[in-house]
Symmetry: C2
Subunit: 230 residues, 2 copies
């Protein structure tokens, strides 16, 4: 609906890829609805995935023994995180919905996107014990993981060789988003696009556009072990 803000965190090297098209479809459809859409195109930005001392500008809180979690927490409080992190945090802060668009790499997100999670979701900003899970600091936001797989739907079925696809969603949806208080919409999964026809790939794009039309009416999943492992 008009006025809603969406941040798409996108991790694919190739604009012509299906992931690139899925990202474009989302920008178009959500803009058409009157949403304001921002994209963090991680490879194009050459986003830094490594959690290092460079994420803190100026002096360290404890220069004797570097603790990344403590240092970034302290730096957040005194406003001395590196600029790229401050920029991403602003985008997150403003967003009503976060869409993560990526190809599944090794049952998880590509390292460049994991680095975005590791570095942007700093203590004090995204969570701050006891403000985690349902009282995480990013509550009232929604997240949706949209990804492509190499393996087929059969491989990722319950009893399939790669196990239920939901098993691998636990660390991303529960461990990251739910931990920060974000409510999670059902994932959007395109299975094995490299092994289907061009026509089927077009249907995948249409299905995504179609889902986005009624996305704001969706209820979040019940992000508890039952959803993942039952």
């Amino acid at each position: 609906p008009p006025g809603r803000k969406v941040l798409i965190v996108y991790a694919h090297q190739e604009p012509k890829s299906l992931n690139g098209s899925l990202k474009r479809v989302a920008v178009e459809e959500l803009s058409k609805q009157g949403c304001s859409v921002t994209v963090s195109d991680l490879y194009a930005m050459q986003f830094e995935p490594r959690a290092t001392r460079n994420d803190v500008v100026g002096c360290l809180y404890n220069s004797e023994e570097f603790d990344y979690g403590v240092e970034t927490w302290e730096a957040y409080k005194r406003g001395s995180l590196s600029n790229d992190l401050i920029e991403e945090q602003k985008k997150v802060q403003e967003a009503d919905l976060l869409i993560f668009q990526f190809p599944l790499y090794w049952f998880s997100m590509p390292a460049i996107m994991k680095g975005w999670m590791d570095r942007v979701l700093v203590q004090g900003f995204a969570h701050d014990f006891p403000n985690c899970y349902d009282s995480g600091l990013l509550k009232n936001k929604l997240a949706l993981f949209s990804f492509t797989t190499g393996g087929s739907r059969e491989m990722y079925a319950k009893g399939g060789i790669s196990g239920d696809i939901r098993y691998l969603l636990w660390p991303m949806q529960h461990g990251i988003m739910h931990f920060c208080g974000v409510k999670v919409l059902a994932p959007h999964i395109c299975f094995a696009p490299e092994y289907v026809s061009e026509e089927k790939r077009k249907e995948m794009l249409t299905a995504w556009a179609q889902r986005l039309k009624t996305l704001w009416k969706e209820e979040p999943i019940n992000c508890s072990p039952e959803w993942y492992f039952k």
Copy 2:
């Protein structure tokens, strides 16, 4: 035992950290046994986690549309992967045991280590359909995930707020190592070292050294859904 080769893939910024000490203990204990131990110290190496076109030296297989999986598979076959990847693959090839030592970041490994998985375990080298899972190309090797957590043992208990710690091991142990044919030893987990006394932390180091003494007699886990989700 004498002659066994071990690769420790280590991801912590601070040598004085508990992770740094756990790594040192492993080097010492395994060397004492007569093993030959190599360490990939990812932060010190400034290891590149991003999967990009730079991983292929020279021309691309398909320069019209970049597909990372296809390009690195082809580059592996013709010997034109970037040097840092060739170096890591040599270390993996020679190793009987891979130890991954890291602090848990967001229910998973730090991005710099995820990048090591994304970039080093190339198709053709580590797997090559149908050579995956029990017939993966790295069969006859062992892997062990050794990590520290922020959350306590209670939080990571079955029914705890963060769910059974085994849930989050699925993508790493099954999705990566088992997929490549590697057999997985039980993980070694130090819960919440930042919240315990210096004495308790010393006990954690002793326990790790102690375990390593009889490590070669251990049986791998049964890396199937039952181990993780029952």
